[in-house]
Amino acid sequence: MFLAQSSPFLKPELSVSKMMLVVTMLMIPGVLTAIYVFGYGVLVNIILAIIFALTFEAITLYLRRRPIAVYLKDKSALLTAVIIGVALPPLAPWWLTFVGLFFAIVIAKQLYGGLGYNTFNPAMVAYAILLISFPAEMTTYWQTPAMLASQFEGQTLSLLETINFQLFAQLPAGMTIDALTSATPLDIVRTAVLNGSATIDEIHAEGNAFGMLGGIGTEWVNLAFLAGGLFMMRKGLISWHIPISLLATLGFLSLLFGSFELDSNPSPLFHLFSGATMLGAFFIATDPVTASTTPRGRVIYGAGIGALIYIIRTWGGYPDAIAFAVLLMNMCAPLLDYYTQPRVYGHKADERDDEEAS
């Protein structure tokens, strides 16, 4: 008797584990750029996040009586950890990462049933909860970008000093946290526009927010994530629908509103290359578990996130908006899936409508 099996028999080209690993690998350019721009804090964040993520994952799997090794190998916790590590402020204290990963892995993922069953993007749940619970830490621990360090005469930290600060909150003698950090470009612009303290041109003149394309420093991180994202798209790991519609909508809205009020609206390029736009568009919004799955659904999903990013950045209470935008659209995904089913071969275009009408 030979091995009996149902077709197809060809080896699958991809596994979840490989997919997660490749996506994580393609974040490396962005991560390296972020380390260059924001210092070693990013690296420490990521390493801490990975340790916490795997620990939480293993514990909950044990409590849920699931095979630990099988599910740890899927590497989805690894990807979540890297995303959170990059998204957190570079000088975030360790407990911020700890709380974040707890919410991401235990609450948002495992309590919903584990990989594949969570409704909300775990990394973004963590980010949103941290942002609401610890707004000060989440907005002020941004190390001054390397490009501005000389201008501000700001100091930088070595790797050991960074670890010492993040784990034990101890700075080298003579250094203050205020000297090390500065507001992010998105924050500067938002505050200025909301207070009416400065016009876009004045911010430009100050030279501490705008780089060549977008926010100073962050533009490079965005470019690196864009490169990784485009490569993923080329390799067929993600489809074009979500990132392209997201970026197009964000660009279009900022162009539309920007042309009315030039003084208080930065250019589309600023929106596209500041904050976590590219990270969000290619690595966060494309999280398959929580996104819409039909082609049309994905376009709407991406566009929705793009629109929400613009709305929250411009009129909302937070400088960046990826987390809230993604979470809000996560809620819509099942509905989008249902109403955007593609026309099946051999069926008439309006068949479904007929069915519903009848």
């Binding site: 149902s6 077709s7 699958p12 080209e13 989805s76 799955t293 071969y345």
Partner: protein, 597 residues
């Protein structure tokens, strides 16, 4: 219109101008075709015992007409077609029928079916073949013209009859009796004949080598098919990974197209993208049209046939040979000499594997058909049938051993690869939950089970298996429902019948009663009439008492009168005596009078 261009030029123009459509999804697979498509077609040794299943087609199994002990010749009919959708089965070697019994057949179910066992005699003695026309293998320049004219002399019905008698069925895998299909196509006036030469499954090369090595058979077969249905257009769709086959067909066609403008056959290369050889996908790529859901290509005026079927039609018409052999690809890394072999139907698969060099230690899986849509054989002691296009014998690590399925991560790679634009992921959830209503809402019956979704699934979920499960469950339910319906109908019918019977009984009883009453009345009347008649006759029993009294009175009167008239002994009576007598008489008369009243 000016002078028509030579066909060869128009063909070239059409070739470059032909617009091809595309189908959604599809996947790129490595072909593994070069394993087996370089060698010439070999011939299988005739097996000692042939096991010929009586059902090698869709529809009713054929009825055996031979019995154990019969001597049969090669090509002799073993079983007749037993319905409109059925095909006859023929002996693929000469010998003696030794048994007609159940035997394991190569089918995913692993079930047995009725087979005719023939012990071959090795003489390979043919029955007398009666071809409709001959292609007189002369190398005459005008050969094509002759051929074509001779096809023109045949009637469509004649050709189709010959195809039906030869037991030709769709050799692309569907196994639908070709004659029945052609008949319908002719009736529905299909105007486009599409020849499926795509052969999109990896490893399989039987159509490829057939086209390379026997292009005339294919083309003549196509011309015959075209003639039967009266199609105006004919397209051959071939994947562009078979340039040799394409060239071979092209060379053959150009001859026919040059000599006959109405013989126009177009050969079109389509991009190599699995499943381009799916009937619906090929139609879409070539014409941009879609076969309606649950419909047939004929609904949009198209009929599809496989190249191998065309070659079988050629054999039936030009040689008078029934379909008793087919080309089988024997391939995979556990085979020493992968090749294509012309195999008599009924040859045990073990025999041909041994002939091609089976490395039994290496074998992990034996698959009939391709790696995407084939099925693993339960045993190699099953016979080659009309469906056996490929035997793929894989060693370990060549094909996948199913890894444990991970949870679905909703990545939508399945729906992105689905050539039917279905949503396999949603269908999977509902199939898993056994929500059969919902799974049908997601059009599960449009699934062609091509296997793309399972192949691309990063979680290794055997999606197609879930869909097969759901489909059979739905069919089962439907059968149950039908059964229940039939049972209910029967019950209601019975109730109705009983009710009717009761009513009929009551009616009959009433009628009988009525009849009886009528009869009684009639009898009484008759009796009266009879009485009237019988009053003169002596029938005192029936007279009424009044009558009796009257009679008695009459009698008494008569007697009295007689007595009075006679008075024999009253002559000498005294006065007193006379008085007494008178008194008595008076009394009697009075009494009689009173009685009379």
């Amino acid at each position: 219109m000016s002078q028509p261009l030579p066909a060869s030029i128009t063909r070239t123009i059409k070739d470059t101008l032909r617009h091809l459509w595309s189908f959604p999804g599809g996947i790129k697979l490595s072909g593994h075709k070069s394993l087996s498509n370089h060698q010439p077609i070999s011939t299988a040794k005739i097996a000692k015992q042939l096991i010929i299943p009586l059902s090698q087609h869709i529809g009713h199994a054929s009825e055996p007409i031979v019995k154990v002990g019969d001597k049969v010749l090669k090509g002799q009919i073993l079983g007749y077609a037993s319905g409109p959708v059925s095909a006859p089965v023929h002996a693929s070697g000469s010998g003696t029928v030794v048994a007609i019994e159940e035997h394991l057949i190569p089918h995913p179910s692993g079930l047995s079916a009725l087979c005719v066992f023939i012990d071959t005699d090795g003489y390979e003695q043919w029955i007398e073949c009666s071809p409709l026309i001959s292609d007189s293998s002369s190398t005459d320049d005008n050969q094509e013209a002759v051929t074509h004219r001779s096809i023109a002399t045949l009637s469509s019905h004649q050709i189709n009859q010959q195809i039906a008698n030869a037991g030709v069925v769709g050799l692309g895998g569907a196994l639908y009796p070709s004659a029945a299909k052609l008949n319908t196509a002719e009736k529905m006036h299909a105007d486009t004949l599409i020849i499926n030469a795509a052969e999109c499954e990896p490893y399989i090369t039987c159509d490829d080598v057939l086209m390379r090595q026997r292009p005339e058979e294919v083309i003549l077969g196509i011309l015959l098919l075209k003639k039967v249905i009266g199609a105006k257009k004919c397209l051959i769709g071939i994947e562009n990974n078979k340039p040799e086959a394409y060239q071979a067909l092209l060379n053959t066609i150009s001859g026919y197209n040059n000599s006959h403008t109405d013989a126009q056959i177009e050969i079109v290369q389509v991009p190599t993208l699995y499943p381009a050889g799916g009937e619906k996908q090929l139609i879409q790529v070539l014409t941009g049209r879609e076969v309606p859901s649950q419909g047939l290509p004929m609904d949009i005026g198209i009929i599809c046939h496989n190249v191998a079927t065309a070659a079988a039609v050629y054999h039936a018409v030009y040689r008078g040979e029934p379909l008793i052999s087919r080309i089988v690809t024997i391939t995979g890394s556990a085979i020493k000499q992968p090749q294509n072999m012309e195999v008599p139907l009924g040859t045990p698969i073990r025999d041909i594997l041994n002939q091609a060099g089976l490395d039994e230690n290496k074998v992990e899986k034996i698959i009939m058909g391709g790696p995407m849509m084939g099925f693993s054989l339960p045993s190699i002691d099953t016979p080659v049938t009309k469906a056996t296009n490929c035997i793929l014998v894989s060693e370990k690590s060549e094909l996948a051993t199913p890894p444990p399925a991970m949870p679905c991560i909703r990545c939508a790679r399945c729906s992105d690869s689905c050539p039917m634009s279905l949503l396999p992921q949603q269908m999977y959830w509902y199939a898993k939950a056994r929500d059969l209503e919902k799974v049908q809402d997601y059009n599960i019956f449009d699934c062609i089970e091509c296997g793309c979704c399972s192949y691309v699934c990063p979680s290794n979920i055997p999606l197609v298996q879930y869909f097969r499960y759901a489909k059979t469950e739905i069919w089962d339910d439907e059968r149950e429902r039908n059964k229940a319906n039939i049972a209910r109908d029967r019950h209601e019918f019975r109730k109705e019948r009983l009710e009717k019977a009761k009513q009929a009984k009551a009616e009959a009883a009433r009628l009988r009663k009525e009849k009886l009453a009528k009869k009684k009345a009639l009898d009484a009347e008759q009796a009266k009439e009879k009485e009237g008649l019988s009053q003169s006759n002596d029938n005192p029993a029936k007279s009424s008492s009044a009558d009796l009294i009257q009679e008695a009175i009459a009698r008494a009167k008569a007697k009295k009168a007689q007595q009075q008239s006679q008075k024999k002994n009253t002559d000498n009576l005294s006065e007193a005596q006379q008085k007494k007598i008178d008194e008595v008489n008076e009394r009697r008369r009075k009494k009689a009078d009173s009685e009379e009243i």
